[in-house]
Point group: C3
Chain length 156, copies 3
C-alpha cells in the first residue's frame, strides 16, 4: 500500500477529513522548505475550524483522548507535506518531533501521549518515519488544545 493510501486509511479510521484547507493566521507559514530540510509549524488537533479535543490531559482529557489528539496533530502535518509535494514519496526521513502536552497537575505520561503520533508516522512511512522525539508537559496551549506537535523533516 502506498504512503498516501495509508494516510487516507488512517484518516478514515480516525473519522476526520484532512483534505480541507489548513488555516494559518498571521505572518508565518505552515511549513518552510530550506534545501532538503522542512520545518513544520506546531500543529494542534484542529480539523477545519474546530479544535476537536480540548483541555488538559489527565483532567479534562484522558490518556487515550490525548493519544487521539496527537494522531490528529500529526495527520495535519502529513497533510501539509502532501499538499506541498503532491506525494509523500518525497519524505526521506522524519528527523525530529516535539510534542507539547497540556498537562494536568501530576500527569507524567507525556511520552505515552506522544506514542499516538509516533505510531501514525511509522504506519505511514515505515523506517523513514522513525524519528527523534522530545515530549514535555506544558501549562497551556493555544486554543486550549491538549497537544501541539512541531516537526523537522528531510526530503529526497
Amino acid at each position: 500500500m502506498s504512503r498516501e493510501a495509508r494516510f487516507r486509511q488512517i484518516a478514515v479510521e480516525l473519522g476526520y477529513d484532512f483534505d480541507g484547507e489548513i488555516k494559518v493566521g498571521g505572518n508565518y507559514a505552515p511549513l518552510v522548505v530550506h534545501d532538503d530540510l522542512i520545518y513544520i509549524s506546531g500543529q494542534i488537533p484542529r480539523v477545519g475550524d474546530t479544535v476537536v479535543i480540548q483541555g488538559a490531559v489527565g483532567k479534562d482529557v484522558s490518556l487515550m483522548q490525548g493519544q487521539l489528539a496527537a494522531k490528529v496533530c500529526i495527520m495535519r502535518a502529513v497533510a501539509l507535506l502532501l499538499r506541498q509535494f503532491e506525494t509523500l514519496d518525497r519524505v526521506r526521513k522524519i528527523l525530529s518531533i516535539n510534542v507539547y502536552v497540556q498537562s494536568a497537575d501530576g500527569f507524567t505520561q507525556q511520552s505515552e501521549v506522544s506514542d499516538g503520533a509516533s505510531e501514525v508516522l511509522y504506519s505511514i512511512f515505515g523506517e523513514a518515519g522513525v524519528h527523534a522525539r522530545t515530549s514535555v508537559g506544558v501549562f497551556q496551549l493555544p486554543k486550549n488544545a491538549p497537544v501541539e506537535i512541531s516537526l523537522v523533516v528531510a526530503t529526497a
Copy 2:
C-alpha cells in the same frame, strides 16, 4: 528602506536601544553558525541588564504587553544577527521560531502573543521573514520573563 533601517525604525518605535552588549552567561553562545544554518539561543525581553516586562501573560501581563515582549525578544535576535554579520542581508530565510509564553492559568492566546514577533520579522525581512512557528504556554521562564523565543535561520 534597507533591512537595517527598518530594524532601527522599529527600535525607535518600541523605545528600546538594541545597540548595547547582549549579555550571555555560562558556557553557551548567543548564536551558533553551522554551514548555512544559524541556531539562536532563547531570547527574553532583556534590554541591557533589565527584563523590561515581567510576569505571566493573562495575569500580570496583558496580551498587548505580551506582544510587546515578543517584539523585544525578536529584536534582540535580529540584533545578534546584525552583530554577527554586520549586515542583515546575509539572512536568507527565517526558518523556524519557537515562542514560549509564560501563561496564566486559562490563558490560551499564545499564538496572538507570537504574532508580535512574526510581525517584526515580516516588517524587517519581508518574504524571507515568513517562518514556521510553534507557540506554547509554559509555566515559568528564566528571570520571570513573559516570553522567550528561539530561532533557526538560514544564511546566504
Copy 3:
C-alpha cells in the same frame, strides 16, 4: 585527555554508570542522523531503569539537584553519541540544546539549572561544545523528571 576520558571521568564524579543500554520505548529513535546533523531525543536523568532525581525544581528538587539532573541528562546524550560513533571525535559542534525544567510555581532559575549541562559539554568538547541554548520552565515532565534536554549536533 581525550573526550572519552573526560566523559568517563565525569561519570565517575557523578557516581553513575552510563555504559548500560539506554532504553527507548515506542516507534522513535534515541537519535537520528541526517547528513552531518544529528537530532537527539529528549533525555531525562534516567540511569538504567531509574529516574535518579524526580520532582519539580524549586520545591521537591533543589537548584543544585536540578543542575545534577541536567548533567545526567547531557551525559546520557553524550553516551548516545559515543555508542553511535564509537568515538566522540566525530562531534564537530554541539549546535543547540533545549532544556526543559519541571518548575515549581515562582521558580525562575531555569538558566542556572541549564548551566549544569553546558558545563559538562564544555568540559568534554571544549569550544566544540559551546552551543546555542534555550531554557524554559515546564509544568510536568515524563516520569516526573525534573529536567529534560534535547540536542542538535553537527558531525565531522
